[in-house]
């Protein structure tokens, strides 16, 4: 299918472009990026899209989205979550291995990739389990899993208790050049349910102190120094933690990190009267921590924004705060929440869109070692067309995901995806001209 997208504002952070440009797609790849009104000789489109008023960007690359398959189909299915992805403009996503069964066998990975491919929507890049069953005891067949399609290895939210095992896992991964994705969370100190601070004290909720993150970071960095393994830190949450990451990067350690989109905007105060939608892992911390996250995204301490999409159903959220399952829906909020970050922190205003998009396209693809996140000629035609000014309300009916729970329920968001193209075919269309 030959597609011609005209009249849009092309923002491609990977190539430093933010200008009115037209784009031609053929055979699933980007054929040409031209001045408005021009097109390559002999190119005759099957479909023309008028992108007036829209931003034409690379499809979003989300480094953490739970699809809940295999095993948790009652919470969400591949069909619903992949639909949510393209409605959120996400064309590539990385899913953590904490499914049931855990993604520690090549066969499971192949099946997941196969199922996802057949849906013809976003590209799915699974993370394999670092240890069997995520139990933190024995190593998984990392080479086999990589061959099956894993782009890295993770413990999801189950930190390894035995430091010896973590050391060996890093040594093994380093041998083959595999990357390890770890949450900096001390297994024992991280057992509480809310950020340890005045809100948790007042509300009588057991606290997760900041040192649960910093102690884990110190351990991880020492192990990285020892082994040289490449580590990506998942879901930073504290100012103190970010200071350590900044020092580690200055030192030249091969570490990168991301933050969940919700944590850019919310704090422990948003728990309000025990709103279980605000129960998240890592916990929402103080305003001080939130500001450090915002600044960290600007100065490069934090490399990427991800949605940390976690569908949780009513049975697990309509519970007292301490019993509720942590997590929030995020695929369809990633764009708006990233734009909101840029509005608060990026100056001048003209730079906002390209900065926001970089954190969820080119930077994300680079960190994860993926091809997407750019609109270079010859690269896969994964695009997201959105109206940066459109306002929409976050409500159950507006979300394709089966996960309807987020602290942003009822809130108005700015920035809405109008169309998503994956490998040159229109995967989602809100009604283009």
């Amino acid at each position: 299918m030959k597609i011609h997208i005209k009249n849009g504002r092309l923002i491609d952070p990977a190539n430093g472009i933010d200008a009115p440009k037209d784009i031609c797609i053929a055979s699933g790849k980007i054929l040409a990026v031209t001045e408005p009104g021009k097109k390559p000789k002999g190119f005759s489109a099957n479909k023309t899209i008028d992108a007036a008023g829209l931003v034409v960007a690379p499809g979003l690359v989300d480094l953490s989205a739970r699809l809940r398959e295999p095993g948790y189909e009652y919470k969400a299915t591949l069909e619903s979550e992949m639909q949510a992805a393209v409605q959120g403009g996400v064309t590539s996503l990385v899913c953590p291995p904490d499914t049931d069964p855990v993604l520690d066998e090549p066969g499971l990975v192949e099946m997941l990739k196969h199922r996802a491919k057949n849906l013809n929507q976003a590209n799915v890049y699974p993370l394999g389990a670092l240890t069997v069953g995520l139990k933190g005891e024995s190593l998984t067949e990392m080479a086999e899993l990589t061959e099956a399609g894993c782009i890295g290895f993770s413990q999801a939210a189950e930190p390894i208790v035995d430091t010896q095992v973590l050391l060996r896992a890093m040594q093994y991964a380093k041998t083959f050049g595999f990357s390890i994705w770890l949450r900096p969370q001390d297994a024992c100190l991280g057992r509480g349910i809310a950020h340890s601070g005045p809100v948790a004290s007042r509300l009588g909720l057991s606290g997760i102190p900041v040192i649960a993150e910093t102690i884990a970071l110190h351990t991880i960095f020492e192990l990285v120094r020892q082994t040289g393994a490449r580590v990506h830190l998942c879901r930073m949450s504290s100012a103190a933690g970010l200071e350590l990451v900044q020092k580690a990067k200055k030192e030249g350690l091969p570490v990168t990190c991301d933050v969940g989109a919700h944590h850019i905007h919310l704090t422990d105060e948003d728990i309000g009267y025990f709103d279980a939608n605000a129960r998240m892992l890592p916990p929402l911390r103080s305003e001080n921590d939130r500001k450090a996250i915002g600044k960290g995204l600007l100065d490069g301490t934090i490399d990427v924004i991800c949605s940390d999409h976690t569908p949780v159903d009513d049975d697990e959220k309509l519970l007292p705060f301490g019993e509720a399952t942590p997590g929030a829906t995020g695929l369809e909020l990633l764009l708006s929440l990233s734009l909101k970050w840029a509005d608060e922190y990026v100056k001048p205003a003209s730079q906002r869109l390209s900065h926001a998009l970089a954190r969820i396209t080119s930077d994300a693809a680079r960190i994860a070692g993926l091809h997407g996140g750019q609109l270079s000629v010859g690269s896969a035609a994964d695009l997201c067309l959105f109206d940066p000014k459109a306002r929409w309300k976050v409500e159950a009916g507006a979300l394709a995901s089966q996960g309807k729970h987020t602290p942003f329920l009822g809130h108005e968001m700015t920035g809405r995806v109008q169309a998503t193209i994956v490998a040159g075919h229109l995967a989602f269309d809100r009604g283009l001209k």
Binding site: G204, L205, G207, G272, Y273, A276, P320
Partner: protein, 320 residues
């Protein structure tokens, strides 16, 4: 700021979930009303007809014979019908969800729920659910939720202090013990601060103090001898064995050595200081028997006032 879920649009008390956020006038109204109920217990017919025909459901997800009994007595003295439901936490996770239980009971014409739950915030979830399902006329009284609040205990503690000391604005009050896990401590702190007590002190070892307590308006002491100097009222908290997850204290004996209320320590407070305890007491752990049975202890009157205060709360809610 979210609207206070306890007050309706006229500012009347719709539920009693926590003392935090309630205006001083509301607290004073409850205490004043309780004073009228104290004398009811001395009459031949210990009942008034306020809640006649109403059903009060005691929904205790956490066992407590004492608290449940005082609520039952209070409700019956208001002529209400009382139904007791003891639902162990484990059966809820195996069977019905909390909200399903509430739906079933309101279908049985419950007018008021008195709820005790092991999770902080559970009564808020219930109150919100009742509002979302159009049942605003059903009232919720929090009989203790996790570590968060025990508002009727806080109120009866205030009633007791007012009875013996009269003017809140001239007092120093100390709360001693396992503040970290104590819903009584949190409710007492909010009440004392709201009623204008100029100095509220909290005394305990670091392991039993929550973080950032000063932000609740208290002075924190780890030295009990320092903390008790010149206080007018001492509220002793029970050392809650069942809530300790290990490694918080070495032993009850060592705790008593540094934090037990002995006659010597009591002498550091004002000579007419009153000694309070929410009960049940662990004699020899947080309090010496000589003090518990001594002239300054007002622990038994607290129980009497507890019934009157609970009658006042249910009487006020029932009419809103």
């Amino acid at each position: 700021m979210l609207p206070n879920p306890q007050l309706n649009q006229h500012g009347e008390l719709q539920h009693l979930l926590t003392i935090e956020g309630l205006p001083k006038e509301v607290l004073t109204h409850i205490l004043d009303t309780a004073a009228s109920f104290v004398s009811v217990s001395d009459r031949e017919v210990k009942k008034v007809p306020l809640l006649r025909g109403k059903s009060v459901f005691n929904l205790f997800f956490e066992n407590s014979t004492r608290t449940r009994t005082t609520f039952e007595i209070a409700a019956k003295r208001l002529s209400a019908d009382v139904i007791n439901l003891n639902i162990a936490a484990s059966s809820t996770s195996k069977g019905e969800s909390l909200l399903d239980t509430i739906d079933n009971l309101t279908a049985m014409q419950a007018d008021m729920f008195v709820v005790r739950h092991a999770q902080s915030g559970a009564p808020f979830l219930i109150a919100k659910h009742l509002r979302d399902t159009g049942r605003e006329h059903v009232h919720v009284v929090n009989a203790g939720d996790g570590r968060h609040a025990h508002p009727t205990q806080g109120l009866l503690d205030m009633y007791t202090i007012r009875h013996y000391k009269h003017d809140f604005t001239k007092l120093k009050v100390a709360i001693v013990g396992d503040v970290l896990h104590s819903r009584v401590a949190r409710s007492d702190i909010h009440a004392l601060v709201t009623l204008g007590v100029p100095e509220v002190r909290v005394i305990g070892p670091h392991t039993l103090l929550a973080s950032n307590l000063e932000q609740m308006g208290v002075r924190v002491f780890t030295d009990m001898n320092q903390g008790l100097k010149g206080v007018d009222a001492i509220i002793m908290l029970r050392l809650q064995n069942e809530r300790m997850n290990g490694a918080l204290l070495p032993s009850a004996q060592e705790y008593f050595k540094s934090y037990g209320l002995t006659p010597e320590r009591l002498a550091l407070a004002k000579p007419d200081a009153i000694v309070m305890h929410p009960g049940p007491m662990n004699r020899g752990v947080e309090i010496d028997s000589a003090v518990a049975d001594g002239s300054q202890a007002v622990i038994l009157p607290q129980v009497t006032y507890g019934i009157a205060v609970r009658m006042a709360v249910m009487g006020i809610l029932g009419g809103s």
